[in-house]
């Protein structure tokens, strides 16, 4: 067992874990006050649901021995059967399978959470929970198997996807688009102002994502070596370049360098360098970053032209950024790999994920919608889904009224029971 590599992967797993709450803040700041908590929860719940599913069958479907054709893993490792502390991964990367499984678990958690931004403000919390349960099972686990399991068909095709341009970002972006087409637009889309309620929260989220992404990208080497270092460096460089690309485009088109643009550009760069960073040099990383920043900045406007309410631009940033990185590495890959042949492979990889993920995501969204109903009621949506599904509000704006009375000061209570009795009931039935 390689202790240095094991340490690196375990730390990287913790870094990637932080990306999901980071994403929650990134998205949470972009919605209106009345849906902030729901937005945070849509990401955060993935840490609960997918962690459990991963142990039950997710790891096995993804990294179990191939059942044929490079399409899916078998069920040998259900409940992590057959794996113990002494079980090591093969080859030079001799690290405990537990460390590898934990690291990959964080990817499986993050990917469905990425889709949540597209469905902001308008879906039932139970429907979302059911949807991501089905989605990781039928979409993420198979696609991750295609890309990263040694017998996966895209891996055998030699598609370059070092840390998840196809399996994570294109997958989540196109899946989100399919779900949006089923769920529909927010009430007031294109009419009501839907300004981000807290750009500082967005910036905090972007910073946590950037930090965690070093684990996501460099950790994917599964070894503390030169490739990991190259990846880490390129992650930084591409992200900086993408922020500049987005801001310059925005300044020319809209007249200002916005905070939201800086945060969004950084995320677009992180997305685009994810598949590519281990196979390009630093100058290639700058090019990928600048292109991703400028193109994504343009792409987020498409939803208004085409009329689909991808509320927080999951398609415009993750799908478009993922495609840019996946294709550009086909051209820019060093050591004689880059070229038309490789570009073709990359296009096949991206195209396969787009087609499969769109179709299955759409079917799953329809299934959820036809059974338990995907959307919140109109009344819940207008009042804000925080109250409807979580019985909470994110902020207490007024010291007068609104808050419940304090219950910790018993007033001449004969017995202690009365004063400490919990609040009887909420006024409204909590309907999830």
């Amino acid at each position: 067992m390689n202790g240095a590599d094991t340490t690196f992967v375990l730390i990287s797993a913790a870094l990637v874990m932080l990306m999901t709450p980071g994403l929650a803040f990134f998205y949470g700041g972009m919605v209106r006050v009345k849906t902030t908590l729901n937005m945070l929860m849509m990401s955060f719940i993935s840490l609960g649901i997918v962690s459990v599913l991963w142990v039950l069958y997710g790891y096995s479907l993804t990294f179990g021995a191939d059942v044929g054709g490079g399409l899916l893993g078998n069920l040998d490792h259900i409940g992590l059967a057959g794996i113990g502390p002494d079980t090591l991964t093969d080859g030079k990367k001799g690290i405990p399978v537990f460390a590898f499984a934990l690291f990959q678990l964080m990817f499986a958690v993050l990917t469905p959470a990425l889709m949540s931004g597209a469905l902001a403000d308008r879906v039932k919390f139970t429907a979302w929970a059911l949807f991501i349960t089905l989605w990781v099972t039928a979409v993420y686990f198979p696609v991750a198997h295609w890309v990263w399991q040694e017998d996966g068909w895209l891996r055998k095709l030699e598609v370059i996807d070092f840390a998840g341009g196809t399996a994570v970002h294109i997958n989540a972006g196109i899946g989100a688009l399919a779900a949006v087409l089923v769920v529909g637009k927010r009430i007031g889309f294109k009419k009501d102002p839907m300004r981000p309620h807290s750009l500082p929260l967005v910036m905090l989220g972007a910073a946590l994502l950037w930090f965690g992404w070093f684990g996501f990208n460099a950790g994917s080497e599964l070894a503390a070596d030169g490739t990991a270092a190259n990846m880490a460096l390129n992650t930084q460089v591409a992200t900086g370049a993408a922020m500049l690309g987005w801001l310059v485009y925005e300044r020319v088109r809209h007249g200002a360098f916005t905070t939201l643009g800086a945060a969004s550009g950084a995320v677009a760069g992180l997305v685009a360098i994810t598949p590519a960073g281990a196979n390009v040099n630093a100058l290639g990383a700058i090019l990928i970053g600048v292109v991703a920043g400028a193109v994504c900045s343009w792409a987020v406007g498409l939803k208004f032209k085409l009329g689909f309410d991808d509320s927080l631009d999951v398609v415009g940033v993750h799908m478009v950024g993922g495609i840019i990185g996946t294709l550009l590495v086909g051209v820019l890959a060093v050591d004689g790999v880059g070229g038309l042949v490789q570009l073709g492979r990359q296009a096949v990889g991206a195209g396969a994920v787009i087609v499969y993920s769109f179709l299955v995501s759409w079917l799953l969204a329809v299934l959820v919608d036809r059974t338990i109903g995907f959307r919140a009621s109109e009344e819940q949506e207008i009042a804000g889904v925080d109250q409807a599904f979580h019985a909470e509000t994110a902020y207490d704006f007024s010291a007068m009224g609104g808050s419940s009375a304090r219950r910790d000061l018993p007033v001449a209570a004969p017995g202690r029971g009365d004063a400490t009795e919990p609040q009887k009931s909420l006024n409204k039935k909590v309907d999830v």
């Binding site: 088109r253 900045s297 987020v300 406007g301």
Partner: protein, 112 residues
């Protein structure tokens, strides 16, 4: 008695407070307000989507005075609030029937 209400630019609050104190005003109430008059709002851009923000932040200052002081006090406020730019706000007065000091039950001008 009169109630003088001034809706003015937030950054003039300190000058207005000092001018009112110099004039001898004992108390006032300040609230945050928003609205528009001839000065309209501004445009904000979020990921390329432009929003027009109609309402401009202002502060509302309210002062109770005796009838005899009202005109002079309005002048004091106007002078302190003025920047000469659009959006300086407005000051107006309305008659007040009754004022009661809650602690002592004093009424009318004694309660000011």
């Amino acid at each position: 008695m009169k109630l003088i209400t001034a809706v003015v630019k937030p950054h003039r609050l300190d000058e207005i407070k000092e001018a009112l104190q110099a004039f001898g005003v004992q108390g006032l109430t300040v609230t945050e307000a928003s609205g528009y008059g001839r000065q309209r709002g501004h445009t904000e851009v979020y990921r390329g989507a432009e929003y027009t923000v109609d309402l401009v932040p202002k502060i509302r200052i309210e002062v109770l005075v005796e009838d005899a002081d009202a005109e002079q006090l309005i002048e004091v406020v106007v002078k302190a609030a003025r920047t000469g730019q659009i959006g300086d706000g407005k000051v107006w007065s309305v008659p007040v029937e009754t004022v009661v000091r809650v602690r002592t039950d004093e009424r009318g001008p004694d309660a000011l």
